[in-house]
Amino acid sequence: MKNTIKVERAKLNITQADLAQQIQVSKQTINSIETGRFVPSAVTALKIARFFKVPVEQLFELEPDD
């Protein structure tokens, strides 16, 4: 699953640690999600989308092998 978290972070000029603190997860978890290694739960995905004020389907996109 692809995502645009890095782009959204760059727009707000915040670090992975800042986002992690807002979502209440660890920095490694944000890094894993951002690099596509870990697929977050619906709750975490919705929290991230709400933080960036974008629809969740704009932030996360399914890939053909998903």
Binding site: Q24, V25, S26, Q28, N31, S32, R37, F38, V39, S41
Partner: protein, 170 residues
């Protein structure tokens, strides 16, 4: 489960336990009159295992969904290895027909295997970002991830080598 302070307490207790084990091995001493060095040694090993137990059953400071997933995988692996160890001992006893000595040192092997393996898998998985911890796709499909996990594999090898050296020295 305990909160993350349980982990700190566990680290302290196991460190004290391991230092006493080492001290007892190098220079046998007596804390309780009437106890043999072997009894002291067995008790100190038990203290070290108690510390490891506290560490295993304590949460991380940031216990999020990824930590829970890695924890689950670590529990699965350590459970399977522990059961395999017991089955190996059971087979040996059945085939040879000779009962294995169930002394304290043997009884410590099973929990020690489970606790140390769990801690190893969990912490390397959590801090070295193991792809295979998240994607349960079977052994062969995971080979392609080895390149992406080189630091994690290196950490496993280094920690295992240190543990082996400690075990050989003891």
């Amino acid at each position: 489960m305990y909160d993350y302070r349980g982990k700190l307490a566990g680290i302290g207790i196991s460190a004290v336990g391991f230092m006493l084990v080492l001290a007892e091995k190098l220079h046998p001493f007596s804390l309780k009159p009437g106890w043999t060095p072997e009894q002291h040694y067995g008790f100190f090993v038990w203290v070290a295992l108690l510390g490891l137990f506290l560490m295993v059953f304590s949460k991380e400071k940031a216990e999020d969904e990824r930590a829970k997933l890695v924890r689950l995988k670590a529990f699965q692996i350590s459970f399977m290895v522990t059961i395999s160890t017991l089955m190996a001992f059971s087979l040996m006893t059945s085939v040879t027909g000779e009962p294995i000595g169930m002394d304290a040192s043997f009884m410590n092997i099973v929990p020690a295997t489970a606790l140390i393996l769990y801690l190893l898998v969990f912490h390397v998985g959590l801090h070295f970002d193991q792809v295979w911890e998240y994607e349960d796709r079977g052994l062969f499909d995971n080979w392609r991830h080895i390149g992406r996990n080189k630091w994690g594999i290196l950490a496993y090898l280094v920690i295992c080598a240190i543990l082996m050296i400690i075990l050989v020295l003891l």
